[in-house]
């Protein structure tokens, strides 16, 4: 198959102006938009976290009313999950998947652009409700990112209905994005690129895409039931009509648990690209990595109720969900062990991406351990809805998923822009971020175990010290990200030119393209041996 690009009349011209972005059908431009969107949302969601941390700096209320605090918690969670991590990974997939499998672009480029542009619409609606709230008109969503009924149905503020539709739009975006990734991977692989030759990042995204298609519609279903319960008199979540508030939780977590793996599997993929590169050694146990990813994805469908141990399920169900959840430690362990074995007897250097990758392995594993502790039902009765949980999920999400995105950006930025980033600043960013992240999140384990519930604007005195520590860490963490922003902008604007291969140990099709790559990645499918 030899090929030229058929782009109707004008070949290889880059469209210019605002139209280039609005009407794009180019995977790189769309990837770039996703990444910037994610970055902006990171600052917005992070600013909300800083409001939370400021209020929690000491006991007593200092800055915000409890009602507003709840809105901050809710929007922080929603924005970080749906606005930062997910779009961030989709952005990486857009940029990298076609290049890694030797394709010219995504399989369905127009739909790709729609997937992106739905997000500003969805988040515009969500953030508008916060702006209205700050202007004294109604309240923004205030029921936590898990929006349990009946707090979000009978007792939800008016903005809940906007929130519901905004979730519908996010879901539509994710489903179309996932379909696109699946079609691209199934259909546009270069000749010779068999499934078991695909880079691990492509594999993890392939599996993630299936998770997305399977669970985003379920989320759409559950918010639809909320909508009808709120406005059209149905009683899905009301016992008076034969429904059950816990039904909401089952459906939500049937989506929600796979969702957390949606946010970590691509991270595993990123780490699996970076570690071999800087260890100058092939990834250890390629096929077991693939099978482990698939097992995690499979198990993620049968463990959802570990979020619901205190809802009073029958004991048989509690046991089942405990055992099933424990099993996830095994494939995840396989991954961790494989990464360590990849490093073992390698020839390592420690550029910023590698530093973030190593920090990821450490900190994600810590988060995984606390996850394992929480799936032990009788112990979870004590941990549930405390800061111990908050510590757990920030270790896997912030120092896990978010760190992997930072690692990926440093790793691929030279490829994207054609320029090397500023290594010194990168390292400063890394150390500030990693140290402050631990100052921020580690003490949360202690206050959680000591009994501090989550989602509270004020706490009793015995939790004061560790909360202060966390707040200090939070501000350092937050402002360190301005360095990141600066490094990225600086790198886009210029710097030492990057080679095709960029990194000495880099291996794969994306590193055979020039840096920056041509507008249509592979116009001639490369032959993979």
């Amino acid at each position: 198959m030899s090929a030229v690009i058929e782009a109707h009349d004008h070949h290889d011209h880059k469209p210019t102006g605002i139209g280039r972005w609005l009407f794009s059908t180019n995977h790189k431009d769309i990837g770039t938009m996703y990444l910037w969107f994610s970055f902006i949302m990171f600052f917005i969601g992070g600013a909300m976290a800083l409001v939370i941390r400021a209020e929690l700096f000491q006991p007593g209320l200092q800055f915000v009313e409890p009602e507003f605090f709840n809105q901050m918690t809710t929007l922080h969670g929603l924005i970080m999950v749906f606005g930062v991590i997910m779009p961030g990974f989709v952005g990486l997939a857009n940029w990298m998947v076609p290049m890694m499998i030797g394709a010219p672009d995504m399989a369905l480029p127009r739909m790709n652009n729609w997937s992106f542009w739905l997000l500003p619409g969805a988040f515009g609606i969500l953030i508008a409700s916060l702006v209205m709230s700050m202007m004294g008109m109604g309240s923004a969503p205030n029921f936590g990112w898990t929006f349990y009924a009946p707090l979000s149905t009978t007792y939800g503020p008016d903005s809940t209905d906007y929130f519901i539709f905004s979730v519908h739009m996010m879901g539509l975006s994710s489903i179309m994005g996932a379909i696109n990734i699946i079609a691209t991977i199934m259909n546009l692989r270069a000749p010779g690129m068999t499934y078991m030759k695909m880079p691990i990042f492509v594999w993890t995204w392939f599996i993630t895409a299936y998770l997305l298609i399977a669970v985003m519609p379920v989320l759409a279903g559950v918010v639809t039931m909320m909508l009808t319960d709120r406005n059209f008199g149905t009683s899905f979540f009301d016992a008076a009509g034969g429904g059950d508030p816990v039904l909401f939780q089952h459906i939500f977590w049937f989506f929600g648990h796979p969702e957390v793996y949606i946010m970590i599997l691509p991270a595993f993929g990123v780490i699996s690209q970076i570690v071999p590169t800087f260890a100058r050694k092939k990834i250890f146990g390629y096929s077991s990595m693939v099978y482990a990813t698939a097992s995690i994805a499979f198990l993620s469908f049968i463990v959802w109720a570990h979020h619901m141990f205190t809802t009073g399920m029958p004991v048989e169900a509690e046991l089942f969900f405990m055992y099933a959840t424990m099993l996830i430690a095994i494939p995840t362990g396989v991954k961790v062990f494989n990464w360590v074995s990849t490093m073992w007897r390698g020839s390592m250097t420690f550029e910023t991406p590698m530093l973030f990758a190593i920090a990821f392995i450490f900190l994600f594993t810590i988060g995984g351990f606390t996850g394992l502790m929480m799936c032990i039902t009788p112990a979870d009765f004590q941990y549930h809805d405390t800061y111990f949980i908050v510590a757990h999920f920030h270790y896997v999400l912030a120092t896990g998923a978010a760190f992997s995105i930072m690692a990926a950006v440093y790793f691929w930025l030279p490829k994207w822009t054609g320029n090397m980033y500023d290594e010194t600043l990168g390292k400063i960013h890394f150390w500030l971020t990693t140290i402050s992240a631990n100052v921020l999140f580690f003490p949360m384990h202690f206050v959680g175990l000591a009994g501090m519930p989550r989602r509270i604007p004020d706490y009793s005195l015995q939790f004061a010290e560790f909360n202060q520590m966390a707040s200090v860490g939070a501000f350092i963490f937050g402002f360190s990200q301005l360095i990141f922003l600066y490094v990225v902008i600086k790198c886009i604007r210029g710097g030492e030119k990057a080679t095709e291969q960029v990194w000495e140990g880099a291996d794969g099709l994306e590193w055979t393209l020039p840096s920056p790559p041509p507008f249509h990645s592979f116009t001639t499918p490369p032959q993979v041996k």
Partner: protein, 292 residues
């Protein structure tokens, strides 16, 4: 557009305004919808948004049809479309799975608990002592807040006829497909037209049934979980039948305009898949909502 059906060429569409139009259309519609729900009177944004959505569909699909007629699509693009459509249908399956899940959970688990089974003996004893755990619920736990229907929607009247109608339409659309593949245009148009008619017939009967449920049986959206699951499942199914019928109708028009060839007619196949999917969902509904 010269490069006829060239297998060696990647096809990448030109920049397109439709995605952005799509976002504007959806955002406008949903804001309009919420404003309408909240104020109780039609918000102008809603019809504007819906018109934009219609414009979007005509425009976007129009562009695709044009490209297809111009032979821009090679087999690879065709495969991408197929993969896309299949997984889109799968996502729809999961959407219905959420509602079926709610139905099973309500029927099997919640019912039992409200009636005092498993670890919920006290739920029954203290909160709902009068509640009788039989499905369908003809007396809700709180029958003042949610007034239960007088009777169950039987399976063997209209619903059985509707089942026959939908099954028949699945057969007719398959016959049409065979005709298409054999290059017989007349039978294609005839069988497709029959399929559309059956789709419309189904919808007509469904409306009839809803009217009966509302006016005579007291089975409404607010008659408790039975009504809730009944209407959400049949309602979303009905919505899908509507979309499917519309799509079939467009295929009919395109068949009349002679758009399809025996080899290349992906659009037709996609619609046929969708129609079969709608049919299968109906079978699930018929068994679990109406019959058992």
């Amino acid at each position: 557009m010269s490069s006829s059906n060239n297998q060696d060429v990647y096809f990448i569409p030109e920049p397109s305004k439709w995605p952005v139009v799509g976002t504007i259309a959806l955002t406008t519609s949903v804001i309009g919808a919420v404003n309408t729900i909240h104020s109780g009177e039609l918000s102008l944004l809603l019809p504007v948004g819906l018109l934009l959505i219609a414009y979007l569909f005509f425009g976007w699909f129009g562009a695709v049809i044009k490209e297809s007629m111009d032979n821009c699509y090679n087999e690879q693009v065709d495969r991408s479309f197929r993969i896309g459509m299949l997984w889109f249908i799968f996502s729809e399956v999961m959407f219905f799975a959420a509602f079926f899940g709610a139905l099973f959970y309500a029927r099997i688990i919640v019912m039992g608990w409200l009636g005092g089974s498993s670890n919920n003996a006290m739920t029954h004893e203290l909160l709902w002592p009068a509640f009788d755990a039989v499905w369908p619920i003809l007396t809700n736990p709180d029958n003042v807040k949610y007034v239960a229907p007088a009777e169950k929607m039987g399976a063997w009247g209209l619903p059985a006829i509707n089942t026959a109608v939908l099954l028949a339409s699945s057969v007719t659309v398959t016959i049409a497909h065979h005709a298409l593949r054999a290059g017989h245009r007349k039978p294609l148009i005839m069988w497709l037209a029959i399929t559309v008619a059956l789709g419309i017939g189904f919808l007509f009967l469904q409306v009839e049934e809803y009217a009966h449920a509302y006016s005579e049986m007291g089975l409404t959206l607010d008659s408790g979980i039975y009504g809730s699951t009944f209407f959400i499942l049949t309602g979303f199914h009905g919505f899908h039948v509507t979309m499917g019928t519309l799509m079939l109708f467009i295929m009919l028009v395109r068949a009349i305009k002679d758009h399809f060839t025996p080899e290349k007619h992906f659009a037709f196949e996609a619609v046929a898949w969708y129609w079969h999917f709608v049919d299968v969902v109906w079978l699930g509904l018929f068994i679990f909502v109406y019959w058992l």
